[in-house]
């Protein structure tokens, strides 16, 4: 079995699609991939396949984008610059690597009517400037979907989003600090040379004023975030890291200025610029990692539908969700997402609120009860009266809460802050004492000694100890596809001794093999063709498994295709109405749950046995974790047989079956009460509350958006074998942090008394301060993935046999 050239999914025997890429015929798995690959090759963009670092996504059936051409909807998302220039920002799913951005720029760039295409791959955003008269927005969105990138338009306000401003301002500050530090250093070198070889006073003063000139923008412009932070801390009466940093910057700068004016002995414009530059660099890298990992604006854009059906006196119309106001009556079809908090006005229904509560059991909502935006209607259509929209909805509130949690400083950094805060108070006291004592002993030496204490003890090493190490660890992990959403998660991961895995979707993925069909009427080939045709547009793992199983069989045309969320699909083929899904949906009266049933109005047509296939990297990852001393559990809601069969293939200490979300939660809490540090790995949908209860929550990139945001670590590439590596990095982070803090403390304990006694000349103090910061930064750079673990090539399409008898 080989892998599809385009999407990397396995190609089943019998599938016969191929495309010519750069003169070589390459096998692909399905008509969708074939069309996408042919289109890419036809545009002359086959270099994409050489440049990409991740496999592409299989293009799903195209959703209907025509609603986006409505003026009312376009007004909110499109910014009209001139009659022939409109601008829109799209959030694009599956934009995985730089090559995807390259491909989008090339394909859309050659499209008629498109003026400009800007792709921001890390932020997954595409900015389009187009001529609305020549290119319709819905067509452009369809082009993106054809390549496998599903677009979600963002608000027009996103054009000048907060995040971009933050990003740009940080980069400007960093540039000014860097250039300023370099220049100040050059002038300082001239002064050092002068103090050894002799320099006349006017030249020395000239260079000092030059230092002042370049350090001033660094202190007044680049360091402003620290002063603003210190001011906030002062108003909140809470001493944290920004206060000592701002104090140190201000005092060193003021002292240097005073020395320059008074023609004193030493200036420190170079040290203060360098200090600011190092701190800003650490903050910048940290900010980029944060932006990359958890983006809740994106989560919200995906959770909320863009359009909905509003009922009017004369009938109904499709409107954008933003157009809804309280009091509107809306109709929500089966399988659709509720657009706004509303009250059921006609007919009861069942809803799935798993996105919000993690509880996937459908809940019944009767007349007059509330539907929460973001939940899924299982049987419909239902009519409802809108109550709250937009930012007032429960969903928006939850997103806000998660945002706040995500922007909070990790405990690790807070602790270091507090330590540094206490340290600075003591240093200030020592400085004051030094100045006072020397005033009585020898007033001429009071000022230099006080300055030496302040400079030599400058909290730089403390200030840099945690951020530099944390930043390095985050960057190293991000390169491996592990995103750190919450800094504390790393610390917990280093200590975690119990790894609890969800089974379905985390350790396994579903598989249907071509032999696993029980046809009741007709042939198995026909049954597969019908089933695959019904599942054409779905991205559900089961649908994928079915399509793979159907192989190359030509698919019949389906009309009236309907997805009923949580249940299955229905559609009409050749005049016969078919349903495909779990037993109670397709037809009543069958028993088993591990099979999909295809039925028409006359009864069951065929049954498909669903097997579970172990993820390829699961065994390796678990063996590595176990070898590392962790114990491993499986906590699953599935039945005993299946859990046991999976557990038998893995190095598992305990496996729990038939656990409800409440059981899972209780289990995690029990483990924690026993003093275990628990890491929970789940794919998100019904694991969300369980993930939140664990010491470190690890989500998968394929999980739901909100659940991802609730995780501390995200395996963006869905690769479990990155887990042992992440643990190794977390361990080395711990070690380096300890070393950094010990070093900072030892250095200060040694240097401060000497400086207070007046034995450290200010120039030596400046060198000591810079060197101690450098030691910390260089030590942090030692954090890396173990050299023995090269990036493993992605193995695609290899299956492991599963034990049949346990599954059938």
């Amino acid at each position: 079995m080989s892998a599809c050239f385009h999407c990397g999914e396995p190609i089943l025997a019998g599938a016969d699609y191929s495309v010519a890429i750069a003169g070589v015929r390459q096998a692909v798995c399905c008509p969708g991939c074939k069309a996408a690959a042919e289109w890419i090759a036809g545009l002359g963009l086959d270099d994409y396949y050489r440049l990409r670092t991740e496999p592409s996504t299989r293009p799903e059936a195209e959703p209907d984008f025509s609603a986006w051409d409505r003026p009312a909807l376009a007004r909110l998302h499109v910014r009209q610059h001139a009659a022939d220039r409109a601008e829109i920002v799209l959030l694009v799913d599956n934009l995985r690597c730089a090559a995807c951005g390259w491909l989008i720029e090339r394909t859309l760039g050659t499209t008629e009517g498109v003026h400009e295409v800007g792709v921001n791959a890390p932020a997954r955003r595409v900015r389009l400037v187009f001529d609305p008269a020549r290119a319709r927005l819905s067509d452009l969105m369809r082009l993106l979907a054809r390549l496998g990138y599903v677009p979600h338009p963002l608000d027009a306000a996103a054009l000048d989003s907060l995040r971009m401003k933050e990003d740009r301002a940080a980069m400007k500050r960093l540039a000014v600090a860097g250039l300023g530090a370099m220049q100040a250093m050059m002038y300082a070198v001239a002064l050092y040379a002068g103090s050894f070889d002799g320099i006349d006073t006017p030249t020395r003063d000239f260079f000092r004023w030059l230092g002042f000139l370049v350090a001033t923008p660094v202190v007044l412009y680049s360091a402003r975030p620290f002063f603003a932070g210190a001011w906030r801390e002062w108003r909140a009466r809470h001493l944290s890291m920004d206060t000592p940093i701002a104090l140190a910057i201000a005092l060193i700068y003021a002292a240097s200025l005073a020395e320059t004016v008074l023609r004193g002995r030493e200036i420190y414009f170079d040290s203060v610029s360098m200090f600011v530059f190092f701190l800003l660099a650490a903050r910048y890298v940290e900010m980029r990692a944060r932006h990359r990992a958890g983006d809740l604006v994106d989560a919200l854009a995906r959770l909320q539908p863009a359009t909905t059906e509003r009922l009017t006196e004369s009938g109904s119309e499709q409107v954008g969700v933003h157009e809804l106001v309280a009091g509107d009556r809306i109709r929500i079809g089966a399988g659709a997402i509720v657009p706004a908090d509303s009250i059921v006005s006609i007919a009861a229904c069942r809803v799935d609120e798993s996105l919000l509560t993690g509880e996937s059991t459908p809940l019944r909502r009767a007349l007059g009860e509330t539907l929460i935006a973001g939940s899924l209607i299982i049987d419909g259509p239902v009519e409802a009266c809108v109550q709250r929209v937009g930012a007032d909805t429960v969903l928006a509130g939850i997103v806000r809460m998660v945002t706040q949690a995500a922007t909070a400083k990790p405990a690790l950094a807070r602790e270091a802050d507090n330590r540094a805060g206490r340290f600075v108070l003591r240093v200030l006291a020592v400085t004051l004492a030094t100045a006072v004592v020397w005033t009585f002993v020898d007033p001429a030496r009071a000022f230099p000694a006080a300055i030496a204490v302040l400079v030599v003890s400058c909290p730089c090493a403390f200030a840099l100890a945690v951020p530099s190490a944390l930043t390095r660890a985050i960057a190293v992990l991000a390169r491996r596809g592990v995103l750190v959403v919450d800094g504390d998660a790393l610390q917990a991961l280093a200590h975690a001794d119990r790894f609890v895995f969800d089974k379905t979707g985390t350790l396994t993925e579903p598989q249907i093999s071509p032999n696993d069909v029980l046809p009741r009427r007709g042939t198995s080939v026909a049954a597969f063709a019908i089933a695959a045709a019904l599942e054409q547009g779905s991205s559900h793992p089961l649908a994928k498994a079915l399509r793979i199983a159907a192989g190359s069989t030509p698919l019949p045309a389906v009309s009236d295709l309907q997805h009923i969320a949580g249940a299955g699909v229905s559609g009409i083929i050749d005049g016969v109405s078919y349903r495909l899904g779990h037993v109670d949906f397709a037809c009543a009266g069958a028993q088993t749950h591990d099979r999909l049933v295809l039925a028409d109005d006359a009864g069951v047509v065929a049954e498909f046995l669903v097997h579970e296939r172990l993820r390829l990297d699961a065994a390796d990852a678990l063996h590595a974790l176990r070898a590392d001393g962790a114990s491993i559990e499986i906590l699953s809601g599935d039945i005993e047989d299946r859990v046991a069969s999976i557990a038998a293939q893995l190095p598992v200490d305990k496996a729990w079956a038939r656990a409800t979300p409440a059981d899972k939660l209780a289990h995690i809490e029990r483990l924690r009460a026993d003093g275990r540090v628990v890491a929970m790995i789940g794919d998100g949908v019904n694991d969300a509350p369980v993930l939140a209860a664990a010491d470190v929550a690890i989500g998968l990139g394929s999980g739901t958006a909100l659940a991802q945001a609730a995780s501390g670590l995200l395996l963006a590439g869905n690769r479990l074998d990155e887990l042992p590596l992440a643990r190794a990095v977390a361990r080395s982070l711990e070690l380096v942090l300890h070393q950094n803090l010990t070093w900072a403390l030892a250095y200060n304990l040694a240097a401060v008394p000497l400086a207070a006694l007046g034995w450290v000349p200010p120039w030596l103090a400046a060198i000591g301060m810079s060197a101690s910061s450098l030691v910390v930064v260089l030590n942090s750079l030692r954090i890396d993935v173990p050299a023995a673990a090269p990036v493993a090539p992605r193995v695609i399409g290899k299956t492991r046999p599963t034990s049949r008898e346990a599954l059938a």
Binding site: L43, T110, R168
Partner: protein, 52 residues
């Protein structure tokens, strides 16, 4: 030594120009995406037909 009186102001002017140019570039979205443009020179610039 008088040459430094000429060269240093010159270097400051150059520094200012550099900072100004960098700010201009940031404001014109040159640094928003630091990953994709790295791939641009790896491919030849062929004029492609519009998609059918």
């Amino acid at each position: 030594m008088n040459v430094i009186l000429l060269l240093i102001p010159l270097s400051i002017v150059l520094l200012g120009t550099g900072v100004f140019a960098f700010f201009w570039a940031i404001d014109h979205a040159q640094f928003d995406d630091l990953e994709t443009p790295a791939l641009m020179p790896l491919s030849e610039d062929r004029k492609a037909p519009p998609p059918s």
